[in-house]
């Protein structure tokens, strides 16, 4: 397959950046999108040019690193698919493919397609964990959890922190991510003990990182590779309003 690759090149956080266009030939339709960029970079290296910097790690759809905007959609045209799990057969021979980094104030570009998503880490550090020392793992069935509830929690827990929700949101709001992390813990008995403290401090971290407010457009859910549901955002709102009203004064 043959493509014209139009990709964002930016030397560093301070550089203004620009698009470069590269013709690319000899792509197999079974290659993943990242393998296609590997081929492009191989070509650039043989031409003694700087290869395109992009984030990737697991290449199996579970780490959330492979963040890039492909032809106007985060992670490209396939629904519920990360960039690393996207294959070149999803494109037509001869297509021009435009690749851009996530755009949000809280995700500054480091180089080319690589952005700094450590704002998400700081939100997790604010309360996305359970602060008890468990010692040995306890028996899996020692705490009974209703099946519907555990499904809800697990459907939220599959969020891989990729940031596509922020990238597609016209407000650069991280509510879908935040709501997934809060729901996953606050729904389960192990997380309930610290539920109010958690939602208060994670919310504060979300705001201080400079993410916007949710206006319920639903763009995030449409592009989320893990199809995190908008009901999580309603739950987050409910938990936060409740926690603000009823938590003890600090």
């Amino acid at each position: 397959m043959k493509f014209t690759i139009k990709v964002w090149r930016q030397n560093g956080p301070k550089d203004k950046g620009r698009f470069e266009t590269y013709p690319l030939d000899g792509i197999d339709d079974d290659m993943s999108f990242l393998e296609m960029i590997d081929v492009l970079n191989q070509n650039l290296l043989t031409e003694k040019k700087d290869p395109v910097t992009f984030d990737h790690d697991c290449r199996e759809g579970i780490c959330g690193m492979c963040s890039m905007y492909i032809n106007g959609t985060p992670h490209g045209p396939e629904k519920a698919t990360t960039t690393c799990q996207l294959h070149m057969r999803s494109f037509k021979d001869g297509d021009t493919i435009t690749i851009e980094p996530w755009r949000a104030k809280a995700f500054p570009v480091i180089k080319d397609l690589m952005v700094d998503r450590s704002a998400f880490d700081r939100i997790i550090q604010a309360g996305g964990y359970i602060s008890i020392n468990t010692g040995n793992a306890i028996d899996a069935n020692a705490i009974p959890i209703e099946k519907d509830l555990s499904n809800e929690a697990m459907n939220a827990a599959v969020c891989i922190g990729c940031g596509a929700c922020v990238a597609s949101c016209k407000n650069s709001s991280a509510m879908l991510f935040l709501s997934a992390k809060v729901s996953h813990l606050n729904l389960l008995p192990q997380g309930k003990a610290e539920a109010k403290r958690r939602v208060n401090s994670m919310m504060k971290a979300h705001d201080s990182e400079g993410f916007g407010a949710c206006t319920n457009t639903g763009a995030c859910h449409a592009v989320c590779p893990k199809e995190i549901s908008l009901t999580n955002i309603a739950r987050l709102n409910r938990e936060y309003i409740g926690a603000s009203l009823t938590s003890e004064k600090e």
């Binding site: 698009f19 851009e100 400079g210 206006t215």
Partner: protein, 219 residues
């Protein structure tokens, strides 16, 4: 920071203000419409004039009207500041290619639609509210019904009122259900009903308002 200010300055707290004032304005619109539909009666304005007289004298209505003015201003100012904050969060660089996704036209343009509505509300208040309170209606030189009837015989005024209803319809198409989501009022049984009610509300209420100027223009 005090916990109350902390709540209302958080992104969720700001949205809670939008949703509470927005829902209060929805309730007002419904009551306003029911009262105004008396303009459609073929009684030469007797019912509407009596209603207008009652509304201007009732102390309860007076008190509520101040809550209403406050809500409109709060909703508008908070909405525009929120729009500004959200735009700043994008960081100024857009995408060269952007594909449409699930976000509806109304949901993407709430601040624009709201601003159009605010301009309309200002014109509407200058034209009727001010005249009813301090102008020629207040001084008794023209009856409320006749004031409205003569205004809507002017085609561009009647058309302006009809066009404004379109902005209101779009704003509420998204806003009604969005307010419930913002308050965390989501449930697999009731959310579909809330959404359905919102869609019906966002069409029927502006339609009801649009009929009034059209009646005077065409009738």
């Amino acid at each position: 920071m005090n916990w109350i200010t902390e709540f209302f300055t958080s992104t969720i707290g700001k949205k809670v203000i939008m949703s509470l004032t927005g829902l209060f304005l929805c309730l007002f619109l419904l009551i306003h419409l029911v009262g105004n539909l008396q303009l459609l009666l073929n009684d030469g304005g007797a019912a509407f004039n009596a209603y207008s007289e009652m509304m201007s004298k009732n102390p309860f209505i007076k008190a509520v009207s101040f809550i209403l003015y406050f809500s409109i201003l709060l909703h508008t100012v908070r909405g525009i500041l929120l729009w500004q904050q959200n735009r700043a969060a994008r960081g100024g660089v857009g995408y060269a290619v952007k594909k449409a996704n699930d976000a509806s036209f109304a949901s993407r343009n709430m601040a624009l639609l709201g601003s159009l509505m605010f301009i309309f509300i200002a014109i509407h208040m200058a034209q009727f509210w001010y005249q009813f309170k301090f102008g020629d209606v207040a001084s008794g030189s023209i009856a409320p019904y006749d004031k409205i009837a003569t205004a809507f015989e002017v085609p561009w005024i009647a058309i302006l009122y009809v066009v404004a209803q379109i902005a209101i319809a779009f704003h509420l198409w998204h806003g009604f259900q969005s307010a419930f989501q913002t308050l965390g009022l989501n449930h697999s049984k009731y959310t579909p009903m809330v959404k359905g009610l919102g869609y019906v509300f966002s069409i029927l209420v502006p339609l009801g308002f649009a009929i009034i100027p059209l009646k005077f223009l065409l009738g």
